[in-house]
């Protein structure tokens, strides 16, 4: 049973919507900037992937609006976008009980930080009784379910930067086992607040010292010195292909396979030999019954950290051979949206397959010899490939790979 992506909701530093996103990826329009002086994280971040301010009252109403974390606001906005893009209305195009929602992410920690500070200043009266309804990790999916009447399976995934694609992998499984006909899945992240920024900064994980903020994120480049923290949400509508066909939807691409493995090695560092990542890639290929030689593109996790980029190219070489597959990382333009990154990259990969155009790794001026690969750089590369892969890795040694197929793949 095939699973197709029939809708996308993307609200990221590159803009809102499919066209703005793909245009940026192919023309090199960066979403990264120096935070304005009045931004809460301005003192902690040299550069970030920022979205405009969102008035909670424009997205929601009621007494809990004040404590709705940005993860919930972004999730509600992109969920509506994704369902509209798919042309799906729950109750009309899919029964409420046959619709599901899975949204990953680290949770609404920014609002928690604010409430902790308010409590320290004002005591218990400073703490809203609604706090948990705005910040718990399951609130994006729960709030989406409430708004759209989704009454089947719902869940949240907390596998750090792999959480969004893991939500997609879980959605594929739900569809394959017949537990749902339509699944809204992805991640929503709003990590641009001081405590979170400072822990990454103190860990020396963030890119630093770049006069031009758009040059700061440079995956696989010799001068890379960390990732750029970003916010945003990316949600996909996944659908049983027969269900999609019955309502005349062809979809952007098929999710042909997924692989999920665990490094069991270190809380933050990847296995240097990349074996955990290599195995997740192999599982994705096996799930789709697609030979290695058929894969014509890898959208890498490629955050721009020294160790992570080396481990990933090592894994790619292990599976595909030396320079065996064209590779790019779109994080050069988007920064790292944590759990939402992988879903944005799944969308980018689906669009690249459908349009026959592979976005490059911008800022890759001087590829690090320690990261050997067939790097797509400087400009997009035309392709006729029918298969592409995207990787996401997370703290804790989480590895997730998705294999995508062009929507027009002949039935197997």
């Amino acid at each position: 049973m095939s699973v197709v992506i029939t809708g996308m909701g993307l609200y990221t530093p590159l803009g809102r919507g499919v066209e703005a996103t793909f245009e940026a990826l192919c023309t090199g329009r960066s979403g990264l900037a120096r935070p304005p002086a009045d931004h809460p994280a301005a003192g902690s971040l040299e550069v970030a992937g920022l979205l405009p301010a969102i008035d909670p009252r424009s997205v929601s109403s009621g007494p809990d609006t004040r404590v709705l974390d940005r993860i919930v606001l972004l999730a509600l906005l992109t969920a509506a976008d994704a369902l509209a893009d798919a042309g799906v209305e729950v109750g009309r195009d899919v029964a409420a009980e046959r619709a599901a929602v899975i949204v990953g992410g680290v949770g609404g920690l920014s609002t928690l930080e604010t409430q902790v500070l308010t409590r320290a200043a004002r005591g218990r009266a400073g703490v809203s009784p609604y706090l948990l309804t705005g910040v718990l990790p399951n609130m994006p999916s729960a709030r989406i379910a409430i708004r759209h009447g989704i009454r089947g399976y719902s869940s949240s995934v907390g596998t750090a930067c792999a959480s969004g694609v893991q939500a997609v992998a879980d959605a594929v499984r739900l569809l394959q086992t017949g537990e749902a006909d339509v699944v809204l899945c992805g991640a929503s992240e709003a990590p641009l607040f001081p405590t979170f920024a400072d822990t990454f900064g103190n860990a020396r994980a963030l890119a630093r010292g770049w006069a031009d903020p758009t040059a700061a994120s440079r995956p696989f480049d010799l001068r890379r010195n960390g990732f750029v923290l970003a916010e945003g949400a990316a949600l996909l509508v996944l659908e049983n292909a027969a269900h999609a066909a019955a309502r005349g939807a062809t979809g952007y691409a098929e999710i042909a396979g997924y692989g999920v493995t665990t490094d069991a090695y270190h809380p933050t560092a990847p296995r240097p030999d990349g074996t955990g990542a290599a195995e997740s890639i192999r599982r994705a290929l096996a799930g789709g019954r697609v030979p290695v030689a058929e894969v014509g593109y890898v959208n890498a996790h490629g955050t721009g950290t020294t160790l992570g980029d080396i481990a990933e190219t090592t894994a790619l070489t292990e599976v595909f051979g030396a320079n065996g597959v064209p590779v790019s990382s779109t994080k050069a333009l988007t920064g790292h949206l944590l759990g939402a990154s992988g879903v944005l990259e799944t969308a980018a990969t689906a669009l690249a397959l459908g349009r026959g155009l592979l976005p490059p790794t911008w800022n890759l001026d001087d590829p690090d010899p320690a990261c050997p690969a067939d790097h797509i750089r400087k400009e997009p590369r035309a392709t006729e490939t029918g298969y592409a892969l995207t990787n996401s890795f997370g703290f804790g040694g989480q590895n997730v790979s998705l294999l995508l197929a062009r929507a027009t793949r002949p039935p197997t």
Binding site: S61, G62, P63, R66, G123, R124, A125, P129, Y130, T133
Partner: protein, 88 residues
């Protein structure tokens, strides 16, 4: 004092995104009136406790939904003045 307390209560309800324009004293706080749900009643109680240095007993909090805006305001005013509150 009662007028000031009433103004504070209305201000808090507005801050909590409830539409209280032109609300009268006979409106109940709970369903059929202002329509505060249980967490919202708790929120309002904490705000009033903090502002006026009061503590509502648990059984008082449970009855708030049935009180009108006027009754609630009078109860708070009495408590602030040191008189026994209307705990009916």
């Amino acid at each position: 004092m009662r007028a000031e307390i009433r103004a504070f209560v209305v201000e808090q309800l507005t801050d909590m995104n409830y539409d209280v324009e032109g609300i009268d004293d006979d409106a109940t706080l709970g369903p059929a009136g202002v329509d505060l749900e249980s967490l919202a009643l708790a929120d309002l109680a904490v705000r009033v406790e903090d502002q006026y240095g009061l503590t509502f007993a648990e059984e008082e909090s449970e009855k708030l939904a049935l009180m009108t805006v006027g009754e609630f305001t009078t109860m708070v005013a009495n408590r602030v003045a040191g008189a026994p509150g209307d705990q009916s």
